[in-house]
Point group: C2
Chain length 376, copies 2
C-alpha cells in the first residue's frame, strides 16, 4: 500500500508515524529538499508541473495532499491517467476558491455568514451599508493563516485588491462577508472514505490570533449534546454533499444565539485536529491514510476528558525548539511536544504541544506552560 503525498510540509510529516505503525509506504513529493517531511520525500518537484506530478503519481496507489494548492489542470491530468486522487478535483475545487465554496455551501443549504461578490468600491459600499458598516473581504484564492483576509470599515480599504486581476474583467471578484459577532470559534473534523463510511471526532474549540490558529481545546467546553450533534451533521453533510474523501475540517462560528455558521473548509488534516495525535484513539493523520486508501475508519473517541493543543508560533529567537527540551520536558513530563524540523521565523508554525487533563482549563494551562518554553 503506497500513499503519495503532494507537498512536504508538517502535515505530510505527521502522516509518517501512522504510516510506519500500519506498514503503509508513504511517499512525499516535496517542493524542495530539507522540508519538514523530508524523511519520506522520495521526489522533489513543482506541484504545478503536470509531468512531474504524474511521474510521482504513477508509482503510488493513491495521491493525497499536504495542502490545497495543486492546480485543477494538474489534478485533472492525474485523473485522466487513471490515478486515484483523494480528495478528488471536484471536491478540492471547493476548497481552492472561497467564492466557489460559498456558492456550493449555500446550494447545499449549509448555514454560512451573509456573503456577496464585489468588484468595485460601490459594491463594497452597498454591502457595508447593509451590514452595519463592517465586513470581511477575502481574496478567493491562495490565502491561508489570515493572509488574504481583511476586516474593512470603508470601501477604500481594499483598493489594492480591487486593482488585482481577480477583481477585473472576467476575474472572480472578491468575496465579502458579514463580520459575524461570534461567541467563539469551533471546528468539526470528520473523515470519509470513498465507499461512504464517515466518522467524526469530538467538536473542538479554537482560538485564533491574527488569523492563525493558536489554541484548541477538545472537546469544546460546555458544548451541549445538541451543539455537538449539529456540528457533526453539518460536517457530515458537507463531506457527503461535496464528495470529500479523506479528512475534512470545518471551521465554525458559534453565534451568541448558539447558531453555527461555516467559516472555512480544509480537505486534509488540519491544525484544529492535531490534538488527536495524542488525545484520540485514532489521530486525524492515521484516519486520513485509512480514508484515502478506502480502508475502514478507526475509533475517534478521546483518550481523556480533555485535551489541549497549543501551537508554537515563531519558535525560539535563537536556536531551535530542540535547544529548549532540557528545560521544557523537565518542567512538563506530561506534555507531548511536536517539532516540525523548521527554522524559527516570526509567526511560523514550527511545532505544537498537546496536554491531556481532567478538564479543558487544566489541559490548556499545561499545554500553554510547556509551549511557552519554545518561544521568545
Amino acid at each position: 500500500m503506497r500513499v503519495g503525498v503532494i507537498g512536504g510540509g508538517q502535515l505530510a510529516r505527521m502522516m509518517i508515524p501512522p504510516a510506519v505503525a500500519l506498514g503503509i509506504e508513504l511517499r512525499v513529493l516535496a517542493e524542495e529538499t530539507g522540508m519538514s517531511a523530508s524523511l519520506a520525500a522520495t521526489a522533489v518537484g513543482d506541484y504545478r508541473d503536470s509531468a512531474a506530478v504524474l511521474r510521482f503519481a504513477r508509482e503510488v496507489d493513491v495521491v493525497t495532499f499536504d495542502h490545497e494548492h495543486v492546480p485543477q489542470e494538474v489534478l485533472l491530468a492525474l485523473v485522466a491517467e487513471g490515478v486515484a486522487v483523494r480528495p478528488g478535483p471536484h471536491a478540492l475545487a471547493v476548497a481552492q476558491d472561497k467564492i466557489v465554496m460559498r456558492e456550493r455551501l449555500s446550494a447545499l443549504g449549509v448555514p454560512v455568514p451573509s456573503w456577496g461578490v464585489v468588484r468595485k468600491r460601490s459594491e463594497l459600499a452597498a454591502f457595508l451599508m447593509r451590514h452595519g458598516g463592517r465586513a470581511v473581504v477575502k481574496t478567493p484564492r491562495g490565502g491561508y493563516d489570515g493572509k488574504g483576509v481583511r476586516v474593512v470599515r470603508d470601501e477604500a480599504d481594499v483598493d489594492d485588491w480591487f486593482a488585482t486581476p481577480a477583481a477585473q474583467g472576467t476575474g472572480p471578484g472578491l468575496l465579502v462577508e458579514e463580520l459575524v459577532p461570534f461567541r467563539r470559534e469551533l471546528a468539526q473534523s470528520v473523515a470519509r472514505r470513498p465507499s461512504g463510511e464517515v466518522r467524526a471526532w469530538p467538536l473542538v474549540e479554537t482560538v485564533q490570533r491574527d488569523g492563525v490558529c493558536a489554541e484548541v481545546a477538545a472537546p469544546a467546553t460546555g458544548a451541549t449534546e445538541g451543539l455537538g450533534e449539529a456540528a457533526r451533521e453539518l460536517a457530515v453533510g458537507i463531506a457527503e454533499g461535496l464528495d470529500v474523501t479523506g479528512v475534512l475540517a470545518v471551521e465554525l462560528f458559534e453565534t451568541g444565539e448558539g447558531r453555527l455558521l461555516v467559516n472555512e473548509l480544509a480537505m486534509r488534516p488540519h491544525n484544529t485536529g492535531h490534538w488527536s495525535i495524542d488525545g484520540a484513539v485514532t489521530s486525524q493523520f492515521e484516519q486520513h491514510l485509512r480514508a484515502v486508501l478506502d480502508l475502514p475508519l478507526g475509533d475517534t473517541s478521546a483518550l481523556a476528558p480533555a485535551a489541549a493543543m497549543v501551537n508554537v508560533l515563531g519558535g525560539p529567537a535563537s536556536g531551535s525548539m530542540l535547544d529548549r527540551y532540557p528545560e521544557a520536558l523537565g518542567a512538563h513530563p506530561e506534555a507531548k511536544v511536536h517539532f516540525y524540523a523548521k527554522a524559527s521565523r516570526p509567526g511560523r508554525k514550527v511545532g505544537h504541544v498537546t496536554a491531556l487533563g481532567a478538564d479543558a482549563a487544566s489541559a490548556l494551562a499545561r499545554a500553554r506552560a510547556a509551549a511557552a518554553y519554545f518561544e521568545a
Copy 2:
C-alpha cells in the same frame, strides 16, 4: 540531535514515530537492505565490524541498540573513540551473557531462581537431584525468544550443548536454573538517563507461548500496590546497580507465595512494553530516545484503565498483514494495529495489536480478536 541505532529490526522501526514527533534525527545501521527499520536506515553494515560501526557512530550524538548482540570489542572501540554508547558496554555485558547476569544480580542481592554453572552430565545430575529432578538449562549467549533454553529432566537432555565450545575447556559452561513453579509471569520496565532520573511504567502481566511473548496486559491484573512497588524497586535497583541507560525491561516470575524472581533482562525497548505506544502518555520508544539523549523523561501514566497487547506471530499464511486490513480494521475500529513490514514466517513476530479497555478482560478480548485476523 542525532541518535544512531545499531540494528534494523522492529524495535528500531518503532523508534521512528517518536523521533519524527520530537524532531530527533534517527539513523539506523541495518544488517541488510529492506529491513523493518529501513525508512531510517542510513547505512548497511555488520555490527561485528568495528570499522563499519565506528564510521556510522562518528556521525551521531549517541549510539543505542535494536538488539544486544554487538560484541564487547566493538562497543569498547566506540567508547575509546569518545562515542556516547547507551547503554554502555559494562551494562550490556550483563545482558549479553546469562551467567554474568546471574552473577551480577546475585551480587546485587536481587532475588533470582536458584542457579549454577554446569559443564558435564554429573554436574547437571547433581543440580537435578537438589531441585526435584527438573531444571532449565540455558546457553549463556545468543539465545532469544525461547532459543537456547531447554527444560530438562535428565542429565543427558543437553548432551549436544555439553559438546559445544561453551561447555569445554575455558568456555563459560551452561547456566542451569531451578524450574520455578510460578503463578504467572510479569514484566517491569523502567527508563534511566545518564544524569540519574528513573521512571517506571505500570507492572504488566505477560503470557509466553513456546518461550515467545504472546500477550501482555497492562497493568497486571489484581496486582496489589505492594507488588507493584516491589517490582519497581527491583527494576530501579537493577538499572542503578548495573548503570543501565535507556529502557530496561525486567522479566519476572511471581511465585505462588507472591515472591518476585528475576527471570531475564533486556536493555532496550522490549516486547512487554509495546502496549505503551498506544496505552501510555510516553511510550517506551519515546522514552528510550529521551533517556539515551539524557533528556528529561516523560510521564509513564496509562491512558486507560487497561491495555492489552497481542503479538501477531507468523502472520497470514498467504500475503501480508496489509491484505487483512479491510476485514480486521472493519471489525475492530478500536484496535491499534502495528505491522513491522516483515514477510510472514511461522513463529516470526511480524506485528502486534493493542486495545484499550475498562478492564484487562475486555481489552484482551478485543486485542485477541483483532490479532486473529492476521493469522492462519
